[in-house]
């Protein structure tokens, strides 16, 4: 749409004039009530934020994780010691009972010619 210079100037003036003719706004009659409500809500949320301190919660979590890890490592060590101790016992038993003095039972049976019974040959 082509406008003449006068028309354009008139449009500019009208547009600028909006600011001069802007109506005065009366605040809503509930403005103060709403404001006080919002302030109360803000203060309440701030109070809750004070109750729940994220920094404190983080350190609490960190401490719990540390203690948990410590406990886990301690239990693991205990289990390893127990396994080692069980292994030692088994070795001792095997050494005790696996001595050459008791290898009597490991000998091949000797055939008795009379009653056909088998009798192990004593190891001298």
């Amino acid at each position: 749409m082509n406008r003449s210079k006068e028309q354009r100037d008139a449009e500019v003036l009208k547009t600028m004039g909006i600011l001069d003719n802007m109506p005065k706004v009366e605040p809503n009659h509930l403005f103060r009530a709403r404001l006080l409500e919002r302030i109360d809500a803000t203060e309440r949320s701030r109070a809750t934020a004070v109750g729940f301190n994220p920094r404190l919660a983080f350190f609490g979590l960190l401490l719990t994780v540390n203690v948990g890890m410590g406990l886990l490592m301690f239990t693991h060590q205990e289990t390893s010691t127990m396994t080692a101790r069980n292994g030692d016992t088994a070795e001792a038993v095997s050494e005790e009972y696996g001595s050459p003095a008791l290898s009597y039972y490991e000998q091949a049976p000797i055939q008795d010619s009379q009653d056909g019974e088998t009798e192990p040959k004593a190891n001298q």
Binding site: E11, T15, M16, L19, M22, K24, V25, I39, T42
Partner: protein
Amino acid sequence: MEQQETISRDLFFSGLVAEHQEMVVNTCYRFVFNREDAEDLAQEVFIEVHRSLDRFREESKLSTWIYRIAVTKSLDHLRRQKRKKRFSSIKRLIGAEEDPAASIAAPERENPADALADKERVTVLKNALDSLPDNQKTAFLLSKQDGYSNQEIADILQTSVPAVESLIHRAKKNLQTRLQRYYETGG
């Protein structure tokens, strides 16, 4: 003792709200051109005042301090709106964008054509104002509002009266140039 202090503080704050609410709402309204947004902003202003009242140092008048908060909040709101506009093309693509003109309150007219023209003018003016630097925009808009002297505007902007006069002059010139360019190109 503490309770008495709280009561007197609350009373003082209530008095402040009663005294300045109209000026604050109207100041915000000049920046955002929307009554509801202006009231919302005015509430944020008073929440900030309530929060920072103890920290207020009497370097300036209390009213100047309150109006400075109002100007800052309004400029922040405009910046947020600008950011939203940048993403509006994406919203338009998915068809979720609402008509931006719906939020602009134009003077009521009986003739729908006049009302439409007014609405268009408000949008054009708003865009032209948005393109001005913040200090020019603030000085110009406050100068158009009853109740602000150049001295008060200078106090709010923390500058001198001649600087304010210069800002208003430059803002007016820039605005005229932008509007003329807009109407030359046919809108």
